[in-house]
Amino acid sequence: MPAKLILSMDGAVLKEYPLNKERTTIGRKPHNDIVIDNLAVSSDHAAIVTILNDSFLEDLDSTNGLAVNGTPTKKHFLQNNDVIEIGKYKLKYLNDQPTQTSAADFEKTMVLRAPVKMSPKEGFAKSPLDVTVTRKTEATAQFNATNSGMATEASAGQPPAAVVQILNGPNAGKELELVKNLTTLGKPGVQVAVLARRPHGFFITHVEGGSFPTVNGSSIGEQPHQLRDHDLIELAGVKMEFYFKT
């Protein structure tokens, strides 16, 4: 389903226009695709270039300009629910195509047979987009229920905030907040471990050095080890406590 524009004035919907052409023009003159017969609108006011599922708005050097979501602009990459303002008129852009991250079906890589040549001046793609090869066509069919659940949960969640506090040595008492995906601990060349923040918790893994870090007194070996509240970590002679912030 193509994206569309809904023309309104003072809250009253006037008309709906599908964006099914490569170039849709807006202006006062009757040759435009979207004609707004109002003196505040230039004869050729703006154009919308649509390439597959993306649309780009461009001001055609109009006298009174245009705004998107209240901000004056010359050129804009339209996103779903954007509101284009031309004088007293409003054009709402609706594109309910699923975004790439929300629909597996959409991620099939495809080959464009005719390389698309475009010059920014002339108005973008001219060649028809001949889509010939689809990658991973079976993806949606075999979409596995457990996997999909995990995926959405994984991309949504972050574990609660956690801290590592140093217990001995000159830095005793110092706290290290684990705000990044990865935090390294230790001395390079001697012993280094990395703390990874993952959706389902924090994991410590050995990176380099002759010996492995210990958690609650036992060596963690080569494998990642999930940390629990108030675990005691020791590496390169430094003792640390891991705990969740509440």
């Binding site: 495809m110 047979r113 698309v116 475009m118 010939t132 990865l182 990395v194 990176v207």
Partner: protein, 274 residues
């Protein structure tokens, strides 16, 4: 230094969280300094077939030709053999895939992206087709060495869409070049100087679509002394972010210089060394 000792190479591939099977293919040959990564496309298992053909043609042909020649040798046209081997064999793989696709109906329309590199004489030659990438970490700087053959990249180049906005595009994953979909292919080739300490990352779009470049760079920087862990961590990041596609990585760390022997005595020395 011998190429085998000068480079540390690890590779890892994973189907991701959503796909039922893996259409990526990866291989490397530490004795040659050759790495190959391909991301196949096509229905049923045709994607695996295409990427598999590409990887096996590249690795077997390059290995065969380098048995009695050196990548820095010049051919009749004055081009280095290393460069010629990569380019010609991507073309050869193209033809094999194209013919297989034409003769077997179930493989019709299959194709693959590819990124392949050969390290020799303190340099790296890179050939790519499509949106599989090579990145380089040099000191603090992490950047893409290849430029995708994709609609989005063309839009970025033409100034139509900014790099930041590109993440919002609904036209991702449209490649403008691929191996095996036509009788001929136009591989892009570059040769880069290499420095000791450089880390090269070759990856399929399953990584860079799911993980921001900045996070990839930070991960490599932090874990550069443990390449296998770095590879595992990158794949984990892609999967934690949703893992919507197959994800493959090859990491190459340059541990020492590997200039080709120049003088007769150096050649003799290396001959005795073997």
């Amino acid at each position: 230094m011998d190429i085998h000792d000068a480079l540390e190479i690890v590779s890892k591939t994973d189907p991701g969280m959503v796909r039922s099977h893996n259409e990526d293919s990866v291989t490397y040959d530490a004795d040659l300094g050759l790495v190959v990564l391909a991301d196949g496309m096509g229905g049923y298992n045709a994607g695996e077939v295409a990427s598999g053909i590409a990887v096996s043609v590249l690795s077997s042909e390059v290995r065969h030709r380098l048995e009695d020649a050196h990548p820095e040798d010049l051919d009749g046209a004055g081009e280095e053999l290393g460069v010629v081997l990569l380019r010609d064999n991507v073309k050869k793989a193209n033809l094999s895939i194209f013919r297989a696709a034409q003769s077997q109906p179930q493989y019709a329309g299959m194709g693959t992206t590819i990124v392949t590199a050969l390290f020799y004489d303190d340099r790296v030659a890179v050939v790519h087709v499509g949106d599989s990438r090579m990145y380089r970490l040099r000191g603090e700087e992490f950047e893409s060495v290849t430029r995708d053959h994709s609609l989005l990249q063309e839009q970025i180049d033409s100034g139509m869409i900014s790099k930041e906005d590109a993440r919002l595009s609904k036209n991702k994953n449209l490649v403008t070049r691929a191996v095996g979909i036509d009788a001929d292919v136009d591989p892009e080739l570059h040769v880069h100087e290499v420095q000791v300490g450089d880390i090269y990352l070759l990856c399929s779009d399953g990584l860079n679509d799911m993980v921001e470049d900045e996070d990839i760079g930070t991960t490599l920087q932090m874990l550069q002394n443990n390449l296998p862990l770095a590879a595992t961590q990158l794949i984990q990041l892609a999967n934690d972010n949703g893992g919507r596609d197959n994800v493959s990585v090859i990491l190459v760390k340059v541990k020492g210089r590997y200039a080709a022997p120049r003088g007769w005595w150096q050649k003799l020395y290396s001959w005795f060394g073997n």
